[in-house]
Structures are given as structure tokens and as C-alpha cells.
């Protein structure tokens, strides 16, 4: 889709962009028409359906975003291990190619559906909808949607999830929230991952990373952890348990920032 990275129409949305709709060539006067609608209307509409679908099945849907290689799959593996039988987890994996991540998740005994996006650099609501046909939500309490590794595009597409979790691994630099503000502004939780490496990295300041996040007017919880050190996962697991409890008690959850223009400008 973007010129820069060569992605095109995604497999999930291509039915929407087939050339030439049902156009009628009739009628009266040149006109200026006020439209005032969001450009991602089609995606938002599908995302709304997905969210209703999750809510009907009492499923908490979490969108995991980060750059490639910051440890999204490793965090899921460690989470699945730690949660055990407390509640059931399902995973939708998004990558350009390969089933590798879904296989890693399945190896932990958890159902996983892999979406391969081809050249597209983000998941959209239609792709997630299609993936849901392959997963029985009745058996699932928490669905993690592991988005395509990318700190730019995924932030603009609502998938119908309830919570955005953005990972920043400590090898990436503590100024990433300032460099990728749209992504980090969308985070409901920021996880600083690979924290076991902090001992050998002298240039990552977790306080600075948090300050950059606050400068985006974002009150999100910040959790510092390492998927390789189960003893560091406590706050993350507690947060997850609380979120599952909130969902079960019928609390209406949705991302704090709707990234795609749902919060339309209200004229004064």
C-alpha cells in the first residue's frame, strides 16, 4: 500500500476496491456535496462488527504492536506458560510470510491462526474478520492479535480489539515514542521488553522512555519485563487478569485512542 514499502491492497480489503461501483450516469446540476465522513469508514465499520462479535462471545481482544523482533511472540509464549489453566488464550498472528509464529504458539497448546499479508504492512479489520472464521471463540477468554511488526501503519487501523499493547524492546532506543508518536499515542499499555539486557545496555533509560510517552499525553501503564525471566512478568500477568475480570463483568472496553478518525473533530 504505501509507496515506500510497496504494500498494495490487502487480501482482506480487496473486495472493497474493485474498480467501478454501481454508478448511474443521470441527472441534474453541478453540485458541491458535503460528506464529512472518515476515510477509513469501511475498515471502522468492519472493526465495529468484530468488536460486537468478541463481546457476544465474552472474548477480550488485545492488539499487540511493535517493531519486528521486539519480542511479541516470545511474550505470548511466556504468558501462555504462566497463565496455564487460569483462562484460555487464542492467538491471531500477522506476518508478511511464513507460519512460523503460529507454529510457535501451537507448540504451547494454544489455538493460533496465521494471517499472511503478502506485501501489506499492517492487519486490517477485514483480515481479522476472515481469520475469526477459523477460530472457535466459545472456547477462548483472551484473543491476542499479534500485528505485523511495524511502528507506523498498524496504528491507523482499528481491528475491533479492546486494548492496544505496544512493545518497545530495550535494544531499540528509549526515544522511540518521540520518533513514532502516532503508534505510541495509541498504546493503552507500553511494555518495555527484553529488560534482561538492561544490565549490558548503558543507553536505554526506562524513565526517559516513559517521559517520551507522557509527552504524547498518554497515561498508559508502563511495564518493564523480560519474557526470559518469568519472575519479571508479575505486573503484566496481574494487569491481564484484571482486564479479563473487567471484561467478564461486562465492562465496555475499547482502545483509549481510536486511531482511525472515529473521534472526529467536533465543530465548535
Amino acid at each position: 500500500m504505501c509507496e515506500t514499502c510497496g504494500c498494495t491492497i490487502t487480501p482482506g480489503n480487496e473486495h472493497l476496491v474493485k474498480p467501478k461501483g454501481k454508478l448511474e450516469h443521470t441527472s441534474e446540476g453541478r453540485a458541491s456535496i458535503e460528506v464529512l465522513s472518515g476515510l477509513l469508514h469501511e475498515n471502522d465499520h468492519q472493526a465495529g462488527h468484530n468488536r460486537e462479535h468478541f463481546d457476544r462471545h465474552d472474548v477480550l481482544a488485545i492488539n499487540l504492536m511493535s517493531s519486528p523482533g521486539s519480542g511479541k511472540t516470545a511474550l505470548l509464549e511466556a504468558t501462555i506458560e504462566a497463565i496455564g489453566d487460569e483462562f484460555s488464550i487464542g492467538v491471531v498472528e500477522g506476518d508478511l510470510e511464513t507460519e512460523n509464529d503460529a507454529q510457535r504458539i501451537r507448540a504451547k497448546g494454544v489455538p493460533a491462526v496465521q494471517i499472511t499479508t503478502g506485501q501489506a504492512c499492517h492487519l486490517d479489520a477485514h483480515m481479522v474478520h476472515d481469520a475469526l472464521h477459523e477460530m472457535d471463540l466459545d472456547d477462548i477468554d483472551v484473543l491476542f492479535i499479534e500485528n505485523v511488526g511495524n511502528l507506523v501503519c498498524p496504528a491507523s487501523f482499528d481491528l475491533g480489539h479492546h486494548i492496544n499493547v505496544t512493545l518497545l524492546s530495550v535494544t531499540e532506543g528509549d526515544d522511540k515514542p518521540a520518533k513514532y508518536p502516532v503508534m505510541f499515542r495509541a498504546a493503552d499499555v507500553m511494555v518495555l521488553s527484553k529488560a534482561d539486557l538492561l544490565d549490558v545496555l548503558d543507553d536505554f533509560d526506562t524513565g526517559k522512555a516513559e517521559r517520551h510517552l507522557r509527552e504524547l499525553a498518554n497515561p498508559a501503564d508502563v511495564m518493564t519485563l523480560s519474557a526470559r525471566r518469568p519472575e519479571t512478568l508479575g505486573p503484566w500477568l496481574d494487569w491481564l487478569r484484571e482486564s479479563v475480570k473487567a471484561k467478564r463483568s461486562g465492562e465496555a472496553l475499547s482502545p483509549r485512542i481510536q486511531p482511525d478518525g472515529v473521534h472526529l473533530h467536533e465543530p465548535a
Binding site: M1, C2, C7, S37, R185, A217, L264
Partner: protein, 125 residues
């Protein structure tokens, strides 16, 4: 990034609005793109060149209005302009602010031509 996807969503809407209004062609499309929308206006313009091919807006002009970023402070109540990665109150420096403008990604309006208007134009010639 992802501007072509966004643009294809736009074209879909443009075609629907055009169909609902019996347009023969679309002359002009006006958008408002806020600084926090995640969309780069110049890339959207380039994407439009590709996305409009073969549509009713093939010869349309795309105008993009930049939306400024404005935050309202939860502490002192003042509204001020803010930078994309520094959404702080300009007056008291507080980070607990609400973004009141800058997230828009909107199709504001379209100018269309219909069969009748085309006929009128040819009469004027």
C-alpha cells in the same frame, strides 16, 4: 505509509457519494488530514494519482486541508497548539491534556458534475 490503502478507502466512498448524487464525474475532492491521523498528505497525493485511475474521479483534483494539532489542558483548562510528539499544554507544561483537534481523517466535500450540468455547459459554448 499505508496511504494507498487509505486512498482506496477514499475512492470507494467517493464512488458511493457520486452514485448517490447521480454524478457524471467528480471534479474536486476536499479532505482534512490532521497532524495526528498517521497519514502523510504528500504521500496521499501520490497515492491518489494511482487510485483514481479508472474511477469516476479520474480527472478530479484532490485538495488536502491540513488539520492543526490542538490540545486542551486538564489542569489549567487552556487550549494551545502542540507538536506531533510534544502534546503538552503550552501554558503550564502539563501532559494531562485532551487532543481536541488533529486526529481527523475526513472527506469534507466533493464537487461533482452531472449530465444536466454538462448539457448546460455545452449550450454555453
Amino acid at each position: 505509509m499505508h496511504e494507498l490503502s487509505v486512498c482506496q478507502g477514499l475512492m470507494r466512498q467517493v464512488e458511493q457519494v457520486a452514485a448517490n448524487n447521480n454524478a457524471k464525474s467528480v471534479k474536486r475532492i476536499l479532505l482534512r488530514v490532521g497532524g495526528l491521523s498517521g497519514v502523510e498528505p504528500s504521500l496521499l497525493q501520490s497515492a491518489f494519482e494511482i487510485a483514481r485511475a479508472g474511477t469516476i474521479a479520474e480527472h478530479a483534483e484532490l485538495e488536502i486541508e491540513d488539520g492543526p494539532i490542538v490540545v486542551k489542558c486538564q489542569e489549567c483548562g487552556a487550549s494551545s497548539a502542540a507538536k506531533l510528539n510534544r502534546l503538552l499544554c503550552q501554558y503550564c507544561g502539563e501532559w494531562r491534556v485532551n487532543v481536541v483537534e488533529g486526529e481527523e481523517l475526513l472527506l469534507l466535500s466533493m464537487d461533482i458534475e452531472t449530465a444536466q450540468s454538462a448539457a448546460e455547459e455545452s449550450r454555453h459554448v
